[in-house]
C-alpha cells in the first residue's frame, strides 16, 4: 500500500520535476552566456517604431560577439508616463528608457535617473543642440541625451497672404501688433487667418505651443527655483501677453473648436502655428508657396519652444556600462540619429549630424536649426512640471473661450502654488536639488 502510494507520487511528480530541472539548466546556462538590457520607448508613428526596432536589431547584431543584447518594449504616448510611474513605484524600471523632456526634473527629483556625464563628456555635450543639454542638466549634471529635438514655427502661404495684401513676415517674425494686423487683413479677405490646433487633446500642446508667447513678453510660468508661481504666472506681463493671444479668438482670427486637423494644408487657413512634424506635408501641399517664420513675439525678440523624447538611464540599473553603450548607440549620428530623423522628420540632435541632411540648408528646415541654436527655450525645470502644465493648459483653454485672463491665471497660480506648498511641507521631496 505504502509502496503503491510512493509509486503513484513519483508518476505524478516526475514530469514537473524534470521540467523544473530543465528550467534550472537553461536559465543557468543563459545567464552565463548573455547580458540583456531592458529598454522602453514611446510608441510613435509606425515608421518611427519600425526605425527604432531596426536600430535595436543593428545594435544586437553589432554586439552579438560580446553576448550582449537589447530588448525593447513600446508603450503608447498617453500611457507612457503612467507606465514609468508604476514601474518606478514597483522598483521595476528598465535599464534605459525614453522620457519626455520636461519631466526630466521630476524624475531626477524622485531619484530615478543616473547622471550621464561619465559617458557623454564635453565633446559630446557641445555637439548636442544647446537646448538639449540645457533641458537635461540639473545641478550641473547631465541626465538625458537625445537623437532629435523639436521646432515650432509660423508657417504661411505666400499666395494667400499676397491675395490679402499682407507682406510676408521678416526673418525674425512679426511682433504681435503686426501679426494681429495681418490676421485682420486676411480675415477681411474672407480666409481663416491662423490654425492653432485648439482641439488637440493633450495638455502639453498648449504649454509647448503657447509658452513662447509668455516668454516673448518677458514673463515666465514659474520662478527659476521651480518652486514658486505666485506673482510669476499671473504677472502683469503675462496678462498682457495672453490678452494679445486671446484677441486671436475674440476677433475670430483662430477657431476655438476646429474640426479639421490641418486647415492650412487644405487651403482653408493662411497660416499655421505648428511644428516640424508638418514640414514635409506642407512642402508637398504648397511647394514654393510655403513660407516659415519664427512665432510672433510680444517683445522685440522671437522665442521658440523645444524639447522632445530623450533617453535616460535608470539610477538602479545593474549594468550602467551596457546601458551607456546603448545610449551612445541610439544618439550617434550614424546608428541612431540618421534612421530616426529620416523616419519622424524631427530635428537632428547633434550639430555634426546636419551634414547628413542637405534639406537643412533650405527653408523651413534651416529655420528649425537656427532657432534651436539661438532663441529656443526649454520648458521650465521643476519637479512640479506635471501640475504646472495641467493647470496652465486648462487656463489657456478657458482663456481661448473668453475667460477673464487675469482672473483665470490667478486661479491657476493659486492651484499650482497650493500643490507645491503642500507637497514641499510634507517633505516628500527631501534633499531634492
Amino acid at each position: 500500500m505504502r509502496q503503491g502510494a510512493a509509486r503513484m507520487w513519483w508518476r505524478c511528480a516526475q514530469f514537473p520535476l524534470l521540467a523544473l530541472a530543465l528550467v534550472f539548466v537553461l536559465t543557468g546556462a543563459s545567464s552565463r552566456a548573455a547580458r540583456t538590457l531592458r529598454i522602453w520607448g514611446h510608441q510613435g508613428q509606425e515608421g518611427e517604431n519600425h526605425a527604432m526596432r531596426e536600430i535595436v536589431v543593428a545594435f544586437n547584431r553589432a554586439h552579438a560577439a560580446e553576448g550582449v543584447s537589447v530588448e525593447i518594449s513600446f508603450f503608447p504616448d498617453f500611457q507612457y508616463t503612467e507606465k514609468i510611474a508604476i514601474a518606478a513605484a514597483a522598483h521595476d524600471l528598465p535599464d534605459a528608457f525614453e522620457v519626455d523632456a520636461p519631466l526630466i526634473a521630476r524624475y531626477v527629483d524622485a531619484g530615478l535617473l543616473a547622471p550621464l556625464d561619465r559617458w557623454f563628456g564635453p565633446a559630446d555635450q557641445t555637439d548636442f543642440l544647446p537646448t538639449l543639454t540645457e533641458q537635461a542638466k540639473i545641478a550641473g549634471k547631465l541626465y538625458s541625451v537625445a537623437a532629435y529635438d523639436s521646432a515650432l514655427v509660423l508657417y504661411y502661404d505666400r499666395a494667400m497672404l499676397a491675395a490679402a495684401g499682407v507682406a510676408p513676415p521678416p526673418a525674425d517674425g512679426w511682433t504681435w501688433e503686426e501679426f494681429l494686423a495681418a490676421c485682420a487683413k486676411v480675415r477681411a479677405a474672407g480666409v481663416e487667418p491662423v490654425a492653432l490646433h485648439m482641439n488637440e487633446s493633450a495638455d502639453e500642446w498648449f504649454t509647448y505651443a503657447f509658452t513662447p508667447v509668455v516668454w516673448s513678453g518677458g514673463g515666465k510660468l514659474i520662478a527659476d527655483d521651480g518652486l514658486r508661481v505666485r506673482g510669476v504666472l499671473a504677472s502683469a506681463a503675462n496678462i498682457r501677453s495672453l490678452t494679445l493671444w486671446q484677441t486671436l479668438f475674440t476677433r475670430g482670427f483662430a477657431a476655438t473648436d476646429p474640426v479639421d486637423p490641418n486647415p492650412f494644408g487644405h487651403g482653408k487657413a493662411a497660416m499655421d502655428w505648428s511644428g516640424h512634424w508638418m514640414a514635409q506635408l506642407h512642402l508637398e501641399a504648397k511647394g514654393a508657396q510655403l513660407g516659415a517664420a519664427p512665432l510672433p513675439h510680444v517683445g522685440a525678440q522671437p522665442v521658440a519652444p523645444c524639447g522632445s523624447w530623450c533617453w535616460s538611464m535608470s539610477a538602479h540599473t545593474k549594468d550602467p556600462e551596457l546601458a551607456a553603450t546603448w545610449l551612445r548607440w541610439v544618439t550617434s549620428t550614424q546608428h541612431g540619429i540618421v534612421p530616426l530623423v529620416r523616419a519622424n522628420g524631427a530635428v537632428p540632435a547633434r550639430k555634426s549630424a546636419f551634414g547628413e541632411f542637405p534639406k537643412y540648408q533650405r527653408p523651413p528646415y534651416a529655420l528649425f536649426r537656427r532657432q534651436l541654436e539661438t532663441f529656443a527655450r526649454p520648458r521650465p525645470q521643476t519637479p512640479f512640471y506635471a501640475t504646472l502644465t495641467q493647470h496652465f493648459a486648462a487656463a489657456l483653454r478657458d482663456i481661448a473661450r473668453g475667460a477673464d485672463v487675469g482672473g483665470r491665471l490667478r486661479m491657476a497660480e493659486n492651484e499650482i502654488q497650493k500643490e507645491i506648498d503642500r507637497r514641499s511641507a510634507h517633505g516628500s521631496r527631501e534633499a531634492a536639488r
Binding site: T81, E82, A85, I86, A88, A89, R106, Y107, A110, G111, L112, S201, D203, A255, D257, V259, A386, T387, Q390, A394, R397, D398, R401, A403, M411, E415, E419, R422, R423, H426, G427, S428, R429, E430
Partner: protein, 296 residues
C-alpha cells in the same frame, strides 16, 4: 458527527484556501497597503520616501476646494441622472413590455447606446453639442434653434456643461436599466393585473398599485446601481470637457486620477480613494436601509 462528516469538515479549509489566498493577495493586501499609504506623504515615483502624516491627507482633502468641487459636481451629476434615468427606464420598460416581435426591435434600439464604447459616444456627442454657427453647428443647436431657442455653447458654458453631460449619460445608460426593469416586469403576476382591471383600476392605477409594489426590489436595485455608476462618472467629462470649463465638470474619479498620475501624490490619492469608497458604501447601505424599512 459521522466519520465521513468529520473528514469533510477537516477538508473544508483546504478547499477554501486557494480562494482565500487569492483574495488576500489581490484584494486584502492592496487595500491594507493603500490604507497605510493614505496616512503618509508617499510619492508615486518613490513610495518608500514616505513620511507619516496621520490624518492630514484626509483633513486636507475635506477642506480642499478642488476635491470638494469634484465631490459637489459628482453629487450634482448623480442627483440629475439617478431620478431621471430610473423614471425614464421604468416607463420605457412599461412601453416596450409587449410580446410582439416589432417591440423587440425597439428594445434593441434603446439598448444600442449601452454597448457602444463610451469614448466613441463622447466624441459623437461633442460634435452634436458643437456650438459653432453655420455648417459646423451641431445637431442639438440646430434642433433647439428650430423650436425658437437661441443656440448655446453647451460644453463651454459652466452652467450648461454638467447638465449636457448628464443628459448624454442618461441617454446612454437608460437602456441597461430598462432591460433590468423589463426582467422585473416579467415577474408581475398576470392575475393581479387582471384582477385590478376587473376591479376598475385604470392604467395609472395598475402601475401605481400593482406594478410598482411588485417591482420594488428591482427599483431598489436600479437606484443603487445607478447611483454607484453615477458617482463613478469619468470618461464622458474627461473626454468632452477635461473637467472644464473652469472646474465645472471635474468629477471625483478625474480628481483622484489626476492626483495619482499627474500629481503622482500616492498618499493623497489613496486617501481620496478611501473617502470615495466610504461614501459609496454609505450610500448603498443607506438605500438598502430605506428600502428595507419601507418594506417592513
Amino acid at each position: 458527527m459521522t466519520a465521513w462528516e468529520k473528514s469533510r469538515a477537516r477538508a473544508a479549509p483546504w478547499f477554501l484556501l486557494p480562494a482565500l489566498a487569492l483574495l488576500a493577495v489581490f484584494v486584502v493586501w492592496p487595500m491594507v497597503r493603500a490604507a497605510a499609504w493614505s496616512f503618509t506623504s508617499a510619492d508615486l515615483l518613490a513610495p518608500e520616501r514616505a513620511h507619516w502624516l496621520g490624518a492630514a491627507n484626509y483633513s486636507e482633502l475635506l477642506t480642499d476646494a478642488r476635491f470638494r468641487r469634484a465631490f459637489g459636481n459628482t453629487a450634482l451629476f448623480a442627483l440629475m441622472v439617478v431620478p431621471v434615468q430610473t423614471v425614464v427606464a421604468f416607463f420605457l420598460a412599461l412601453w416596450v413590455n409587449r410580446p410582439e416581435p416589432a417591440w423587440r426591435w425597439l428594445r434593441a434600439v434603446f439598448f444600442i447606446p449601452v454597448i457602444v464604447s463610451t469614448p466613441v459616444l463622447a466624441v459623437l456627442w461633442t460634435l452634436l453639442y458643437q456650438p459653432a454657427q453655420g455648417e459646423q453647428m451641431g445637431l442639438i443647436n440646430a434642433m433647439v434653434q428650430a423650436i425658437g431657442v437661441p443656440p448655446q455653447a453647451w460644453l463651454r458654458d459652466p452652467h450648461l456643461a454638467l447638465p449636457a453631460i448628464a443628459f448624454m449619460s442618461v441617454w446612454q445608460g437608460v437602456g441597461l436599466q430598462m432591460m433590468v426593469f423589463l426582467a422585473g416586469l416579467q415577474a408581475v403576476p398576470g392575475e393581479l393585473l387582471e384582477a385590478a382591471r376587473i376591479d376598475g383600476a385604470g392604467a395609472w392605477g395598475r402601475v401605481r398599485h400593482v406594478i410598482i409594489p411588485s417591482v420594488r426590489n428591482t427599483i431598489v436595485f436600479v437606484v443603487t446601481v445607478t447611483t454607484v455608476l453615477a458617482f463613478r462618472i469619468f470618461v464622458q467629462p474627461y473626454l468632452m470637457t477635461r473637467g472644464g470649463p473652469g472646474r465645472s465638470t471635474l468629477s471625483l474619479i478625474q480628481s483622484i486620477y489626476e492626483t495619482t498620475f499627474l500629481g503622482q501624490d500616492l498618499g493623497r490619492a489613496c486617501a481620496a480613494s478611501f473617502l470615495f469608497l466610504i461614501w459609496v458604501a454609505f450610500l448603498t447601505l443607506l438605500q438598502r436601509w430605506i428600502a428595507g424599512e419601507e418594506r417592513g
